[in-house]
């Protein structure tokens, strides 16, 4: 059962000489949801990029048991899709056209558009509840609708492994739950391996099988939500004081920041 879908051995990634990630080992198991958490700038996106082969790196990235150095860009794109943080589409591009581009890795130069492509696009639009927006230009959508259109594009790619960089940013609480439920649904019904960067620790705790906390390009903690989301790890990784209690609804760890709220602070101020 426990088979590696995506992994890294001795991964070194950097920009212009300075290494952001310096020797990282990781094995992500098939059919699991893994959340990556960590402070801004700690290297989460860099790791996702290197794992999806969008950034050149030293060391080995293994996808479906094969060294990605031996796979073509197109073969990688058929096995792994990635939703970047804040992608941009040309003005006037419709949702349907964007989602259809998720089919590129499956299309040959001559055989352009097939039944399978049509079905994948329709399904991606339905799953993300974007069918009604199919004909609308992306730039005329709200931030949340836009985000879902991009998720639909990644879904249309129909890959076994899906990487998402902050898929819930820009979404209201209802749509955040909708997107995360959708990912769980893909994971459960289609057995997809899902890796996502999240800033909301409570979401990570609730939706992920495994949480990886990063700190300055290293893995600082790795394990189940219960193991990783603890007051000690939060202090070490984010430098914040927090209480961690059990969520009464799901039993997952729930983070309550211990910073002093303004009302309390004001009350404590001496009157001059």
């Amino acid at each position: 059962m426990d088979e590696e879908a995506l992994g890294a051995r001795g991964l070194v990634v950097g920009y212009r000489g300075h290494e952001v990630i310096d020797g990282l080992d990781l094995a992500l198991m098939r059919g699991r949801i893994t959340a990556i958490i960590g402070a801004n700038g700690c290297g989460k996106s860099t790791l996702l990029w290197a794992l999806s082969r969008l950034l050149p790196s030293e060391g080995t990235v293994v996808l479906d048991g094969r060294d990605t150095a031996t796979l073509s860009t197109r073969e990688i794109a058929r096995r792994l899709s990635v939703l970047p943080q804040g992608p941009s589409a040309p003005e006037g591009l419709t949702v349907a056209d964007l989602v259809a581009r998720g089919r590129y890795p499956h299309q040959k130069w001559l055989r352009q558009w097939s039944e399978a492509d049509e079905a994948a696009v329709r399904e991606a639009l339905e799953r993300t509840n974007m069918t009604a927006f199919a004909g609308r230009p992306i730039d005329e959508l709200s931030g949340g609708q836009r985000q879902k259109a991009w998720i639909a594009m990644a879904l249309a790619q129909r890959t076994d492994t899906v990487l998402l960089d902050e898929p819930t940013t820009y979404l209201d609480i209802g749509h955040q739950a909708e997107v995360l439920d959708l990912l769980v649904e893909l994971n459960v019904s289609a057995g997809r391996t899902i890796v996502l960067v999240l800033h909301d620790l409570n979401q990570a705790a609730r939706y992920a099988d495994r949480v990886i906390a990063m700190e300055r390009g290293r893995i600082a903690a790795d394990g189940t939500p219960d193991e990783v989301i603890t007051a000690e790890t939060l202090r070490a990784v984010f430098g914040v004081e927090a209480h961690v209690v059990a969520d009464p609804h799901s039993g997952a760890p729930l983070v309550i920041p211990a910073s002093v709220p303004p009302a309390v602070r004001r009350a404590a101020q001496p009157t001059s």
Partner: protein, 336 residues
């Protein structure tokens, strides 16, 4: 095609444009600074005898019209590919150094080799365009992420400026070269002859094939190099092929008829305004709008100053610049 409705609209738009191009082509055969009665035009076309009008039609007007069609298509296509490659709505092939290179080639032909025949200029112009754009490409694609739009634009601006000042230096030093060059430097369809067009055909056909071959790559690139790669596109290959298409199309155009501004810049904007940002539509639309604009401008140039003619390059600049400004002010310049 995911959205069938818009695909149908796109096709009917193309048919309408094709008809318009046909009409302009007929006008271009029928209208000139020398008046030829319509019945003589028709008899020259369908039962040529070898009379004076027949010769004017077959030796001058038809080659000129064909040149307007193919060069117009080449300028429109190369502009669309250039803007897609650089994700820059105000890019034109000049960024790759094509025009600076062609001008330098012509100056070298005149000044260094003393060649005054314009046929010799064609070869030198093409060689100059190809060499300078190759240099721009080499400089602009150094480094890990390859030929990014910004690096290309900087390399192109720097090298074009350098080549341009070398060209000026020669022109100011040598008054024969200046006179000859002045004649070349405003593009004109008037000198187009059948043999010249035949020589240009393979380059233009190769460029057009490449352009249509990179449609999917350009679409993917329009969402950024990272997304393109994540969709399985080989970004370096796409960029290289697109740049080669631009050089073949616009290098051949500038070599064959001289520099013609604003067609490559403006036509893709009209195409996007009509058909949206998808290159499956932008490229064919541009390939039809190009000849429409170029032949239209050429016909205007033939009749505004009868009995003499105004070169088409002067007309496109005079008309293209205000049209482009109007577009910018209407804010229909779409971000890519």
């Amino acid at each position: 095609m995911p959205s069938r409705g818009s695909a149908t609209t796109a096709v009917s738009g193309l048919v309408a444009l094709a008809i318009a191009v046909g009409v302009v082509a007929m006008l271009s055969i029928g209208v000139g600074s020398r008046f030829i009665p319509p019945d003589s035009v028709l008899s020259a076309l369908f039962s040529p005898g070898g009379g004076f009008y027949d010769n004017v039609i077959w030796e001058l007007r038809i080659p000129r019209t064909v040149a307007g069609l193919v060069i117009g298509a080449a300028l429109g296509l190369s502009g669309a590919v250039m803007q897609g490659l650089t994700r820059n709505p105000i890019a034109d092939p000049g960024i790759l150094g094509v025009h600076a290179g062609a001008a330098f080639g012509v100056v070298v032909a005149i000044y260094v080799f003393g060649l005054l025949d314009f046929r010799a200029h064609v070869g030198f112009a093409f060689a100059g365009a190809a060499l300078v754009s190759a240099a721009v490409w080499l400089v602009g694609s150094r480094g890990r992420d390859g030929a990014t739009p910004v690096k290309l634009a900087l390399a192109g601006a720097a090298i074009s400026a350098f080549i341009g000042s070398a060209t000026s230096l020669v022109l100011y030093a040598d008054s024969t070269a200046f006179d000859e060059f002045r004649f070349w430097s405003v593009g004109s369809l008037a000198g187009a002859k059948a043999d010249l067009l035949l020589a240009a055909a393979p380059f233009l056909a190769g460029g057009a094939l490449l352009a249509f071959g990179v449609i999917r790559g350009l679409n993917a690139l329009s969402m950024g190099a990272d997304v393109a790669r994540s969709l399985g596109q080989r970004v370096r290959l796409v960029r290289g092929a697109a740049a080669l298409a631009v050089v073949l199309l616009s290098g051949t155009a500038v070599a064959a008829v001289g520099p013609i501004g604003f067609v490559g810049l403006t036509v893709p904007h009209v195409a996007r305004a009509l058909a949206g940002p998808d290159h499956r539509r932008v490229l064919p639309y541009s390939a039809l709008l190009g000849p429409l604009v170029l032949l239209g401008a050429d016909i205007v140039g033939r009749v505004v100053a009868i009995p003499s003619e105004v070169q088409v390059g002067a007309i496109t600049a005079a008309v293209g610049a205000p049209v482009f400004i109007w577009f910018v002010r209407r804010r229909t310049v779409r971000e890519l």
